[in-house]
Amino acid sequence: MARIGVFVCHCGENISATVECDKVAQAAAGFPGVVHSIDYKYMCSDPGQNMIREAIREKNLTGVVVASCSPRMHEPTFRQACSEAGLNPFLCEMANLREHCSWVHEKGEATTKKAIDLVRMMVEKVKRNQPLYPIRVPVTKTALVVGGGIAGIQAALDIANGGNKVIMVEREPSIGGHMSQLSETFPTLDCSQCILTPRMVEVAQHPNITLYTYAELIGLDGFIGNFKAKIRKKAKSVDEKICTGCALCTTKCPQKKIPSEFNEGLGKRTAIYVPFPQAVPNKPVIDKDHCTYYKTGKCKICEKVCPAQAIRFDQPDEIVEVAVGAVVIATGFTIHQTGFFPEYGYGRYPDVLTGLQFERLASASGPTLGEIRRPSDGKIPETIVFISCAGSRDPAKGIEYCSKICCMYIAKHAMLYQHKVHHGKSYVFYMDIRAGGKMYEEFVRRAITEDQVNYVRGRVSKIYERDGKLIVKGVDTLMGAEAVEIEADMVVLATAGIANPGAEELAQTLHVSYDGHHFFSEAHPKLRPVETNTAGIFLAGACQALKDIPESVAQASGAAGKVNILFSKSELTREPLIAVVNRSAPPEYSTCVGCFLCQPACPYQAIEKEEIKDRSGKVIKTVARVNPGLCQGCGTCVAFCRSKSIDIQGYTHEQVLAEVMAVLEND
C-alpha cells in the first residue's frame, strides 16, 4: 500500500502570493495513498529538508512529492534528501508549482485549483515509481585517437600523460598532418616544424602510446567504455622492426617522378619513400600504385640495396582488433583542389597556387628550400596576388561558411614574401579581414603598415595569361568600385577548407552525426563542443569545423580532459532513466515479438538482438535488448513498440497514463 508524503513549499512568497499553499496541502491530504501532507515556507532550506527526512523515517513513506519549484532546479536536492533518509531517490517527484503555476497565473481560485491538480498528478505518478539504481558500466582505460595531425598529437599526449593508454591511427605514412607542411605559423612566425616535430617524436617514444601509421580505422562496435575497434594496417612492404631508416632505398628507386603529396605536387618523390625528412616513424613505405615491381613484376632494386634486408614485397595488409574505452576523432580537413575555380585558371596556369602550395614554397624544407620561385620557370615573382575567400563564403559554390584560417595565413604569406623578396609587390584581394584572436589583428596591421602589403577590398573576376604574366582582373570597392588590373607573376588562392573526402564514411563507421558539409557535429554547439552525440566519442581539431592551430590544440586538450575524466574511474555510473524490454517467465520470456521496429528508431544503436535459448542451446526466441551503456533514455523506441514491450524507466506507460488521468479527474 502506497504511503505518500506531500510537501508544499511557499518559496518565501513566490508561490504563496498566488497559490493558497495551506489549501493545497489540505486537499493533498485527502488524495488516496497520501499519509502526510504539510506546507512550509522554504522546503529546500535545511529545516525544510529535515521535515522530509523525518517524515520518511517516522511515517515510513514509500514516495515523496515536493510541490515547489521546477524539477530542473531542485530535483537533485530533494532526491538527495530522500536518499539520506533511506528512501530510493527515484521515489521522489516534484510538482512544479512555481514556474508552471504561481509565477504565470493571477491569484485566484483557478490558480490554487491548478496547483492541486499538479500535486495530484505527481502523487499518482509517484505511486507507480519503482526504486531505480545507477547503472554501472566497466571502462577500458585505453583511448583510440584517429588522426595524427596536431589535434590528434595533442590529444594523445595529454591522455597518455594522464596515465592512460592511447592507440593512434594515422592514414599517411607519417604523423604530423597539415601542420608539418606549414612554413611558419601566425601570429608569431614560429617555424612550424620546429614546434611540431618534438611533439611527433614524443608521441613515437611515449610508453603509453601505440602508433599505427599507414593504417585506417575500418570498424567500431560497442559503447562508451567498451568499444572494439578494427584497424587495417596497410602493408608498408618494409619490415619496420629491421629497417634502420637509412633511406638508401629511396635514393636508388628508379621511379623518381611521382608528385609528392607532402609538397602538394610541387616536388617529386620516389615509389619507396619517406614523406619528409622529419617523418615519424622515419621509415620508408612502398607506394604500390607507382612501384615498378608491383606494376611489372621486375625491379626489386630497393631489396638489393637495403643493407638491413628489410624489404618485404609479400607483406599482407594486417587487421588489428583493439579494445578501447573512448575515441577521439581528429581527422582534420583538406582544401579545395583543381576544377573548382575555372575563372581563376587553377590547374591551367602553373603559377596559380593554393595556400598550401605556397606554404611549401616558403618552407625551408620545401622543393625550393624556402626560396619563393615560380613553378613554371623558376623565376622569383616580382608581383604576387593573394585572393582570399576562393570558394569560402560563396553560396554559389556551395560553401556558405567562412574557412576562418585564410585571412590570417594570407597576411602571413604576404609577409613572408615581402621578407624574402624585398623589392616585390604584393596585393591581397579580400572581402573582409577576419582577424579575431589574440595578436591577430595586430599581425594583419603589421603586414599592411610595416611590410607594405597592398590590401584591396574587392573580388577577382578573372585571371588570364598575357605575355607570360597573369592578368588579375578585379575591383576595388573602397575606390568607388573601380576596376583593377594587376600584372602578376604568381597568384595564390586561399581555397576553402573542406571536410576530408572520407569523413562521411568515417562518421557512419563511428555512428556520429555530421553536418551538410561533412564536418562532424558536436553534441551541443555551445556547451558540449568536444563531445559527439555518441557517448564516449570526442572531437578535436578541424574535423569538426575549420580552425587554426591554437584552437585545434585547445579543443584536443579539452577532448583529452574529457577522456581522462571518463578514465578516472574503473566503472561508469549513469542515471538509470533508460529503456528496458520486459522479461517474463517461460514460455513467454518477453512480450517482445522481435519485429525490431525499435532498432532503426534508436538514434544511439542501443537496441541489440538477444537470443533466448533452451538448455540444449537451441534458440527459442529472438527478442530486443536495450544496451544500458548506449541508451540515453529518449524513449523513441517506446512509442514505436507495437506490442508495448519496451518501457522507459521514470516515464513508464503506467506513470504517464496515471498523470493524464489525474489531470482530468473530477471537477
Binding site: V104, H105, A110, P603, Q632, C634, G635, T636, I648
Partner: protein, 151 residues
Amino acid sequence: MENKIFEPKIVAFVCNWCTYAGADLTGTSRIKYAPNVKIVRFPCTGRIDFMLLLKAFGEGADGIIVSGCHPNDCHYTSGNFHARRRWISFRSLLDFLGIDTGRITFSWVSAAEGAKWAALVNDTVSRIKELGPYTDYEKVARYYEEEVNHE
C-alpha cells in the same frame, strides 16, 4: 453547468529539454497565461505514444498541446523528427475517425522561447473556447455502448 463560463481542460505533452524548460522560462520571466493547461513531462517528444492523446480525449480533455525541441535541436538528435512524422500520419487517422484535429496544437518551443509558450497556451485556450467543450468522444462512446447493448 450551462450557466458557467466554459473553462477548457487542456493537457500539454512536452519534452523535458526544450518546451518544459521554455515553460520554466515563462515562469522566470513572469509572463502570464491562462491556467487551463497542465503539463505532462516526457524525456522527448519521440517518447509520446499518440494513443495517449486519444486517452486524454476519452478522459475528458477539451484540447491538447504537443510541443518539443525545434527540428535539428533535439537533445536526442532525432526524437522530434519521429514525433513530427508520427503526428503527420496520426493527424490523418484522427481526421478519418472524425476527431477534430483543430483541438490539437503541435508546435516547437525552445528553452529560450518563454514568450512563445505563453502565446501558444493562450492561443490554444481561446481556440478551444470557441470550439466549446469536447463531447464528440462521449457521443462515440455512447453510440458504441448502445451497439453493444443492442447485440
